[in-house]
């Protein structure tokens, strides 16, 4: 759901850029203050993996493809929605500037959709679900799905405001396609979290480890 330059008037792109920059500043502050030495490899590896996954369009039938976003994954593993803003911003800059995937004037909107909304929805829905289900898979899966679906619907609204899509058709089509893409996102997110827990449990967010330990004990 990378919005190209052509899909949005300049002035609207500028507004999203200003909002996005506020979150980017906060994400830089997160990296400066919260990112501990031992987490640096995780951040860098996740960023490289998110780039590869975001550039990999998977078929979802109906003549449409979609790619993973990874906002929920990053926010859950690193324990902050700002981790998603940090990584997704860098990935979107590389994709937009080098590969023309997503526009320059619309990069602010893309950062808001996939980084900010994806990260916050993913992080908070994971922790909300964790309280109820006490199960990492049943929490991370739906959280990742929501972190794909909600940004897509927000994107549809932005496209309506930009005069690119009619609202109803946009919401239906974006919702339908990203319902399917979100299922892939959910499966991969759960798999990667379990993979990290298996090989390097010390690298996963401490809150997740404690929640898991409590879930296993209870």
């Amino acid at each position: 759901m990378h919005i190209p330059d052509a899909f949005m008037p300049l002035w609207q792109g500028a507004i999203y850029w200003i909002i996005a920059l506020v979150f980017v500043m906060l994400a830089l502050r997160w990296a400066k203050n919260e990112l501990t030495e031992e987490k640096i490899p995780v951040v860098a590896v996740l960023a490289a993996a998110v780039f590869a996954l975001m550039s990999f369009n998977l078929p979802v039938s109906m003549g449409t493809s979609g790619h993973l976003i990874g906002g929920a994954l990053v926010a859950i593993v690193l324990g902050s929605p700002f981790a998603a803003v940090f990584i997704l911003t860098l990935v979107l800059i590389v994709q937009g500037v080098l590969f023309g995937d997503g526009g320059i004037t619309t990069m602010g909107a893309n950062i808001i959709n996939m980084g900010v909304i994806g990260g916050f929805v993913g992080y908070y829905s994971f922790h909300g679900l964790m309280r109820v289900t006490k199960n990492i898979s049943f929490s991370a899966g739906p959280a990742a799905w929501l972190a794909c679906f909600i940004p897509a619907e927000v994107c549809a609204v932005e496209m309506f405001l930009a005069g690119t899509f009619p609202l109803r058709e946009g919401l239906i089509a974006m919702g339908l396609y990203h319902t399917l893409i979100g299922i892939i996102e959910a499966v991969i997110t759960v798999l990667v979290i379990h993979l990290i827990i298996r090989v390097r449990p010390d690298l996963i967010d401490e809150k997740v480890r404690q929640l898991q330990a409590r879930g296993e004990a209870g």
Binding site: A52, G100, A173, I181
Partner: protein
């Protein structure tokens, strides 16, 4: 500094990302993504559940800012074929990795130089 365990994670992680990036060159779907598909529906070139049809399937809208990227569509173009795709994806993956490492290093350096005791 980084211990051996973290170094191992780092190297295996980046290699895995590179493998995904290279697989993407050969197996990525050529179909338009969700957003482009929706744009094609809005312009009457595609129906909700069927692939787009028509001569020149295009989602270009003129009149806005335009930018020419050096490697459009994750490829070098020209006669490079899939090798161009592989090179582009490897550059992108390593550059993203390097950008994060560099930025984090810069932020940490600035922090430690400002507050030597923390």
């Amino acid at each position: 500094m980084m211990d051996q365990k973290n170094m191992k994670f780092l190297i295996i992680g980046v290699l895995l990302a590179l493998v995904i990036a290279i697989i993407a060159v050969f197996f990525a779907s050529p179909d338009p993504d969700g957003l482009d598909s929706t744009a094609l529906i809005a312009s009457g070139q595609k129906s909700l559940t069927a692939p787009a049809t028509g001569e020149n399937i295009s989602v270009d809208a003129p009149g806005h800012f335009s930018y020419e990227s050096p490697m459009p569509d994750y490829n070098l173009g020209g006669n490079w074929g899939s090798m161009g795709g592989i090179i582009a994806m490897v550059i992108g993956t390593l550059l993203t990795f390097g950008a994060v490492m560099g930025l984090v290093w810069l932020l940490k350096k600035r922090k430690s130089s400002k507050k030597p005791v923390s």
